[in-house]
């Protein structure tokens, strides 16, 4: 099964288990994104609610439903649309419980397809998760299909507004990972003693491409970890702080400045002040994503750019 099929199954199971879950968004009855395919015929019009193209309106409506007994799941067409309705996510959903005296939960799940498979240009390619992390909204990004059920369980148990970022590049992926400890926060995907690559859901396929082209020595000696808890809460931080490798390469398809990769780097430096590893980053170079293929490719993390880091820094002999 693909990432998208597992995601659909996980949401379907939630809807089947608990009638207070409602599925809301644009084109969700016809299931255009693939997540809610078949939901309308199974759960009906009262629980699968098509909306106009009114992100602020339906995100506000989700707040009203959530404070009044329901658990809305709000599907976005793509994560960049959060900028249209950030007031309802941050000022309203996120702050409601606190500002009314911590008396009522606001359980909302925002499903946010994020990033690009290429060719989507400036308005449809963004990875916006650091924005919500910065604002304190619980944010998660399952990097592989094996992780989706645990992320969904965690999002439900939070009883709060939770954004689940879904890397569109992984939607059709059927890559199988052998993961000993599946959790919603931090995954150990591959062992290796010398270098650690830390990736996210938007860079996992790029890192895999790098491994497919790298020398056997590099592949053998490089570990791969994945951060899925975009708030770097304590369970995730504990893992990051205990990394043993002396060199760390952080790969993320979002911009580094004031961003997620920078925060990971900061946390590593904070925790290892005396024996800080060497840290390199391979991130998206700008939030202005060009349509032209070559320019777009150069902007985003790629196997070539990861390879350059190994070459330029002489890591593991510097030869890929």
């Amino acid at each position: 099964m693909t990432y998208l099929e597992i995601l659909r199954s996980a949401v379907y199971a939630l809807m089947e288990r608990d009638e207070t879950y409602l599925y809301i968004g644009e084109d969700v009855r016809s299931g255009q994104k693939g997540i809610s395919d078949g939901f309308f015929s199974k759960f009906g019009a009262q629980r699968v609610i098509d909306t106009p193209i009114s992100e602020s309106g339906f995100c506000g409506m989700a707040v009203g439903l959530a404070v009044n007994g329901f658990r809305p799941i709000v599907e976005f067409n793509f994560s960049g649309l959060m900028f249209v309705c950030l007031d309802q996510i941050f000022n309203q959903a996120f702050k409601f419980k606190f500002m009314t005296g911590n008396k009522r939960n606001v359980p909302i799940i925002y499903l946010m397809p994020t990033g690009t498979k290429g060719g989507l240009a400036g308005h449809h390619s963004d990875n916006t998760y650091a924005t919500l992390s910065h604002l304190g909204v619980i944010s998660l990004m399952p990097a592989c299909k094996e992780q989706i059920p645990s992320v969904m369980d965690y999002a439900c148990s939070a009883n709060a507004p939770v954004a689940i970022f879904l890397p569109v590049e992984e939607f059709r992926s059927d890559t199988v990972y052998d993961i000993a400890d599946i959790n919603p926060f931090f995954l150990r995907l591959k062992c290796g003693d010398d270098v650690a690559i830390i990736c996210t859901g938007t860079s996992i396929s790029t890192v895999n491409k790098f491994f497919n082209t790298a020398s056997k020595s590099i592949v053998r000696r490089t570990a791969l970890y994945c951060v899925s808890d975009l708030n770097l809460s304590i369970k995730c931080l504990d893992e990051i702080r205990h990394l043993k490798e002396k060199t760390i390469v952080i790969v993320d398809d979002a911009t580094e400045d004031f961003g997620f990769a920078s925060q990971i780097e900061l946390e590593i430096r904070r925790s290892k002040q005396h024996e800080c590893p060497e840290i390199y980053t391979v991130c998206r170079l700008s939030n202005l994503v060009p349509f032209r293929e070559g320019l777009e490719h150069a902007l985003r993390p790629s196997a070539e750019r990861i390879n350059e880091v190994f070459l330029d820094s002489g890591l593991l002999g510097g030869k890929a």
Binding site: A62, V67, Q92
Partner: protein
Amino acid sequence: MKNLSDEVLANIEEVVPSWLLRNPNLFKLILIRSTELAFGALGKSGVIRGPIHSSVGQEVVAVAACASLEDSDFMLSNHRGHGHYLAKGGNLTNLIYELLGDDRGCCSGLGGSMHVAELDSGILGSNGIVGAGVPIACGVSLAEKIKGSGAVTMVFLGDGAMNQGVVMESLNLAAIYSLPVIFVCENNQYAYSTRSDDMTKNAYHERASGFGIEATHLQDTSLNQNLKIMEKVVSKTRQKSMPHFVEFFTYRLHRHFETERQRAVDYLLADLHEHRSMNDPVTRECVELGQDESECDNVIAEVKFIITSFAETCVKK
């Protein structure tokens, strides 16, 4: 009306004259006026922190709109929300605590003047972002519609909110989902310092009609008349499960917030302000009931004193 857990309200009911207690809607009108005056004074003296947006002059709207709501109905409000809270039956003592930042406040002192709520009474909060509560009201209303409870949701918004995109989206959502929600637009003629007719070409109730929502246009000139109309609006919304938009033409007798400073060139239209001040709706309602103006002023002063004294005592403790 008596709520034994509401210490300040109980004190007030001890001292107000019987003619007022016999008329609960007029009592609420005076209670809101006195509370707003007390909060204004406490804000100016520094007992209450932060801006206080007073509804002095607009009390008829809150009382007329909320009078026909049941306890099981819902109400959401905006930054000028003390009157709506009291009109829906919110606890006065807890409101005072809230504005003092006391943990006994209706929102544990975490919200303050612009964010008052009493969730268990269906008062789902006022809002510091203009228009932001309107889609939330649609969600609350949709929840009740799914449950089949028959409850009505009322949301207050100002004329300024009618130029927020999310409010237009919400009117459309209410129309397409046939939500039992009542939008009460208080057109107090100013969005902060800006005349509403400088910013809007058509009438607000006409905008709502344009979304396919039944709309009513009211003046705040008579409490009794508006009570009757709102009773019909609430009843119809409940029975037909359809949205309704009510535009109340009213006037804000105080400035946008209590400590706002008048600029060298004032934005208020002097003639309009004088005319409205001379025709104070609370005084008018008392006079229509056969009381003279001074009696009305005395009651307001007395209630204001009880609230002010209570707040000052809390702070001293």
